[in-house]
Symmetry: C2
Subunit: 212 residues, 2 copies
Amino acid sequence: MSKNAISNSVIRRLPRYYRFLGELENNGYIRISSRELAEKMGLTASQIRQDFNCFGEFGQQGYGYNVSGLKMEIGKILGLDKQTPMILLGAGNLGRAIAAHLDFKNRGFDLIGIFDTNPDLIGMEIGELKINSIDQLEAFCNEHHPEAAILCIPKEAAAVQAEKLISYGVHAFWNFTHYDLRLEHKDVAVENVHLGDSLTTLSYCINSNDNK
Amino acid sequence: MSKNAISNSVIRRLPRYYRFLGELENNGYIRISSRELAEKMGLTASQIRQDFNCFGEFGQQGYGYNVSGLKMEIGKILGLDKQTPMILLGAGNLGRAIAAHLDFKNRGFDLIGIFDTNPDLIGMEIGELKINSIDQLEAFCNEHHPEAAILCIPKEAAAVQAEKLISYGVHAFWNFTHYDLRLEHKDVAVENVHLGDSLTTLSYCINSNDNK
DNA sequence: TAGATTGTTAATCGATTAACAATC
DNA sequence: TAGATTGTTAATCGATTAACAATC
């Protein structure tokens, strides 16, 4: 599809471009130059042009970029024109917050099932979904074929459940556990969110004096 | 303190080193070589030695590193031997989950106050803390001097509240909003967690075929 | 046309990996 | 002492920035 291998650094900037372009669009911007966008985002114009040119030629010399057009292109690159069916494993505090808080549809996903082991939670409703028993996981996957899963379960359970899910055809994980999925499975897509590590990084920033 | 400026890439690996060393310690490891640690973590031995040598000489030729000793050193570098007083702004789904879910004490922080605007939430207890009205924020800060804040509030409220907090002496933010704090305030420590962007990145990984 | 701004190549900068002398 | 493994310098690789010809 895309030209060469896209570097991770570029990929991580794409959602932010998409967000900023959405805001510009809402504020009535029709066109924007790489220089102006760079200023707003705290990047360099060069970097922005390099990033976009990984995927194609979206601008026009002497004019700049059409805001809506560019936003749409980046949305397509990000796969936001499709919705991958996704399930959530673990409906504890964090799992429930994520299920309730995020706009899955606008981020390329459709949350279609929630599973937990805790009998107190099973049956409870979150948005339009009921929390199911994990015993129903296999049957559910056979019927609905989720392709992605959110892991909000204890670390000890992660390895076992991930194996199961992969065998049921899940090939993408949004991983909130400290289980190192990617080390074990090079072939699945993994996006890690390690909140504890993130907080620890902030502690470093406070306690070191090379604040820059 | 530390030798030169430490690169961001190194800093982001520190919490993970700390975690792995903790696990090794729990599993009875006394010593470990950079080669063995590299294998376990999916890094190179070279990188590990380079990383550690940013901060000092923690190993011994011919022996390797003492697991507990190294863990302690990295803990000190991360500031985990202190606890920075921290408050949470926004006790919605996500804010409550974070307050309940994370082990602040072992990550260099002490969560001492929770604030919200929603009357339905005020007075509710989370762990050992009661949710306070945001009206009490200034008085609380004057009395307890929190130095760090978690922002789990709507984007529109973020700018105003961040300004206030900075004027009350808060100089570090764990930012879950899409408000670009760092663009406005170069002098405060900011750690961003953009869950939406993270999910969007996963969407890219699924929909692109340069899976690597 | 003249001015602006892209797409793209070249230069720089930084981070990772390799190599090896120092030393436990 | 011999073997192992560090700390550190040098080489490589990749990402960012600068420059500029192409072109709208």
